[in-house]
């Protein structure tokens, strides 16, 4: 028969077992009823019971937001001498291994959280000393003055390796008594009978590629909590389900995104200018494709630079490859000299939010709430989201703490509802900051594209600080922006030279990404026939180009004519771009076995 075993856990409340799912059914989609052909095979002789444990608060995601929330909770617990069990699960094998960011950190939130961060050895070693902004043309560079007050001004900020900061935050959290569990992915949201969130379950392990249980099969574990915080970062897979279940997006714009690709280079000491921040827009992107580059000189003892390229995922040309735009940007006469004689030592990629204020969903629901880049608090023109993510985590902790430690709390639902978090966020600097810059990104959608946007920013932000009474809308979802391939021109990308620019596969190898081979691919398709029928036929298979890890390939079928989509799930770097940009919205990223994915080191 054509049915395939899928291990993926269907979220219908009673069906928690490896299911026989005919291809065509959406695994991990919320279903109210169970189609008749989904019958658990109960005489597998496999142990189906899940071990469950209770905590006061469970946090999904060990990034800046999750860790800030955990730290703040424990600080409050210690201050008020209350017992509080805080458990944090993180899919990366170690805290920081899936973290990727530019980054120029605005230390405001960190200082609020841990005022003596410097004495405690937080890895903020590189104050920004020089700030350079350029518009690039193919061969030249137009300098743009960064006037004080413009969002991209970095005075007072630090160039950091975000992975190292996150790792340090993890150490602070552990010292305070937070239970950190890296290597364990939250795969499923658990619900009480009244529909409120009960906690999460980690994924089952030891399932073979075909969905059948291996000898080492073991069910995941349930972690129950009074409140669960979801801090999965940009485009979290559990958040995606929560949006649907609790209708959290009914009064906001769809989220819009960009993909950020990054490399770290050890450069020639003579080229090294510690503290220097460079940003550019323009070439190689056309004026209607949002994006630009960053290049930061770190000062941590070695001549390291962190550099990368961001492309807005609302781009329209299906032939565009963000990876290859990044590689060819490095050859620009303003950029290449810095890298000549140097050695590339790291590579990675991650999607980031660009929707800003207009795209913030409802943040709380019975039993849980959303923090950090998951709902999305990035200040797009500043290209900073970490300070707001951390603040959201802290505000969440401050709102949760009194309720979770209250002696006799009257709650309508079994899982606690904490609307105070959203109210406090609205009254905080996060809200004011995001409101002020809300129109900058959408202002790029005009005939003059990039230049129109920059003029808008100059007039309305620099002079009026975002006080204009209107709020621009976004243009719809990123996935719906692609034009059919026949309406677009293929882009001629230069071949990588192996010294400054590189091919995709050697880049992916540098990310250290790996997954247990014999497990069901975690990039699931709702309908197996759509990739060839729609993505390839109409859009020439854009997933081959927007995936920064070479997961998707259209290859000829073994016998006969035609093509098929090959999914090299092991390469995945968990960037989430495919789930965002697939024009058919057919690709559903679910979390693979915990511990898999990239092994970023100080990215």
């Amino acid at each position: 028969s054509n049915s395939q075993w899928y291990s993926v856990v269907c979220l219908a409340p009673i069906c928690l077992y490896p299911c026989l799912i005919k291809s065509g059914h959406a695994p991990n989609e919320m279903t109210d009823g169970i189609p008749g052909d989904l019958l658990p095979d109960l005489d597998q002789g496999v142990e189906m019971e899940r071990f469950a444990d209770e905590a006061d608060v469970v946090i999904v995601g060990g990034g800046p937001a999750g860790l800030a929330a955990a730290i703040r909770l424990k600080q409050l617990a210690n201050k008020h001498e209350k017992e509080l069990r805080v458990c944090l699960v993180e899919k990366a094998s170690q805290i920081g291994a899936h973290t990727l960011s530019g980054a120029c950190l605005e230390p405001s939130a960190l200082t609020e959280l841990i005022p003596d961060w410097k004495e405690r050895g937080a890895p903020l070693n590189t104050p920004v000393t020089e700030d350079v902004f350029s518009i690039l043309t193919e061969k030249h560079r137009i300098p743009v003055p960064i006037l004080p007050g413009l969002p991209m001004q970095n005075h007072g900020n630090y160039i950091i390796r975000m992975g190292n900061l996150v790792h340090w935050l993890g150490e602070q959290a552990e010292e305070l008594g937070v239970e950190l569990y890296p290597g364990y992915a939250a795969a499923e949201v658990l619900f009480h009978e009244d529909g409120s969130v009960k906690g999460i379950a980690t994924n089952d392990v030891g399932i073979a590629k075909d969905g059948s249980p291996k000898d080492v099969f073991e069910r995941g574990m349930e972690l129950h909590a009074k409140v669960t915080l979801f801090g999965e970062g940009c485009h979290g897979h559990l958040a995606k389900q929560l949006y649907k279940k609790f209708n959290l997006r009914e009064n906001c714009e769809p989220q819009t995104y960009a993909i950020g690709l990054k490399e770290v280079w050890m450069i020639d000491e003579k080229k090294w200018r510690p503290g220097r921040v460079e940003h550019s827009v323009g070439w190689p992107l056309d004026r209607n494709t949002y994006g630009g580059s960053f290049l930061y000189h770190l000062n941590e003892g070695e001549p390291l630079v962190a550099l990368g390229f961001v492309v807005g995922l609302d781009y329209t040309n299906p032939y565009l490859s963000p990876f290859r735009e990044f590689q060819r940007w490095k050859h620009h006469p303003f950029v290449a000299p810095t890298l000549e004689g140097g050695q590339r030592i790291a590579y990675g990629a991650r999607a980031l939010n660009e929707g800003g204020f207009q795209s913030i969903p409802k943040l709380t629901f019975p039993g849980g709430l959303l923090i950090g880049c998951s709902p999305g608090f990035m200040n797009v023109p500043k290209i900073k989201g970490t300070h707001t993510a951390m603040k959201s985590g802290m505000l969440a902790a401050e709102a949760i703490f009194p309720k979770v430690t209250a002696e006799n709390l009257d709650s309508e639902t079994a899982g606690l509802h904490i609307p105070e978090y959203a109210e406090n966020l609205k009254n905080s600097w996060v809200w004011k900051e995001l409101y002020a810059v809300r129109n900058i990104r959408p202002s790029f959608h005009n005939y003059f594209g990039l230049y129109g946007g920059m003029i808008y920013t100059g007039i309305f932000y620099w002079i009026l600080r975002g006080k204009e009474p209107w709020t621009f809308k976004h243009c719809g979802t990123d996935a719906s922006q692609l034009k059919p391939a026949k309406e677009c021109t293929p882009i001629e990308y230069p071949k990588p030279d192996g010294k400054i620019s590189f091919d995709l596969l050697s880049s992916v190898a540098l990310s250290g990404t790996n997954h247990e081979g014999d497990q069901p691919p975690h990039l699931t398709l709702k309908d197996d026939s759509i990739p060839v029928a729609k993505n390839l036929a109409i859009y020439d298979g854009p997933e081959q180009r927007f995936c920064p890890a070479g997961v998707y390939e259209y290859v000829p079928v073994e016998t006969g004519d035609g093509m098929r989509l090959q999914i090299n799930a092991q390469n995945c770097v968990h960037c989430k771009t495919c789930d965002i940009k697939d024009p058919s919205q057919n690709i559903n990223w679910v979390v693979p076995e915990g511990g898999g994915g990239p092994a970023y080191n100080g990215l």
């Binding site: 569990y181 291996k214 080492v216 073991e218 574990m221 070695e302 250290g512 790996n514 092994a599």
Partner: protein, 254 residues
């Protein structure tokens, strides 16, 4: 018979990570790099835990020699089913110079101290590929050794072993106490699942220094230089057999 098994576990750079040589060519970069338990050590732990589950042995003790982070590796072994751990603290320059001979001396001392009946190790570590520790430990203790084991079964006070050798499989029977090193096909290690990691936090890890066991860590080896393998030169495609022969002659190969 004590029924006690000592399992050695080593913390190594994860096999999927791209190794980078330090700019001063003294070694590879390890700071912040993802580490995990040596895959062959995982197999050894699994075998020990299986023996305990079959009630053929009574206690599994996981041992690791290294810096503070080695405790994470021991915790993984505890989560897989080991009963307690021993962390022999070695750090800094001593750790950089730590090799099979010193580790064997430590294991031999521990085996006597703990009255071990069996020592289970991985056949080799994936960072240095030495494939020496098991053999040296057996020699220091004057115990039999069963290396490259792909099947282990206890029969009274003897062990039946199948060894993977170049020509095929070798079946041997050795007396206990003995040292056995695990090869790839011995078993499939179980996952260290979250409930077990939580339980493992309650299991004990004793710490000690090599000096406590009377072991001298002086190395008789000196690493002169560590280099990247030479860059692979681009190949060349030729159209005809004559071209190929011509090019080979040019390069002086024929």
């Amino acid at each position: 018979m004590s029924g006690r098994v000592l399992v050695g576990v080593k913390r190594v750079i994860d096999y999927a990570v791209k190794i980078r040589v330090k700019p001063d060519n003294t070694g590879v970069v390890t700071d912040g790099v993802k580490h995990s338990m040596n895959p062959f050590c995982e197999i050894a732990v699994e075998e020990a835990v299986k023996l305990k589950e079959k009630k053929l042995i009574k206690e599994v003790v996981a041992v690791s020699c290294g810096p503070q982070q080695s405790q994470e590796t021991i915790r993984t072994a505890l989560a897989m089913g080991a009963d307690r751990g021993i962390h022999v603290e070695v750090s800094g320059k001593d750790y950089e110079n730590l090799g099979p001979l010193q580790v064997s001396k430590i294991l031999a001392a521990l085996a006597k101290k703990e009255d071990a009946q069996l020592i289970l190790l991985g056949k080799q570590a994936i960072d240095d590929d030495c494939n020496q520790t098991g053999q040296m430990t057996a020699a220091l203790l004057d115990w039999p050794q069963g290396t490259f084991a792909s099947e282990v079964s206890l029969e009274g006070d003897k062990i039946n072993l199948v060894r993977e050798i170049d020509g095929g499989l070798e079946h041997i029977k050795i007396n206990t106490p003995a040292v056995v090193t695990a090869d790839l096909r011995l078993n499939t290690p179980r996952y260290a699942t979250l409930p077990n990691i939580m339980k493992a936090k309650k299991k004990k890890i004793a710490t000690m220094k090599p000096a406590d066991l009377g072991v001298d860590l002086t190395s008789r080896l000196e690493v002169l230089k560590v280099e990247e393998p030479p860059q692979r030169q681009a190949g060349m495609k030729v159209e005809t057999v004559e071209d190929l022969v011509g090019k080979l002659k040019e390069a002086g190969r024929i």
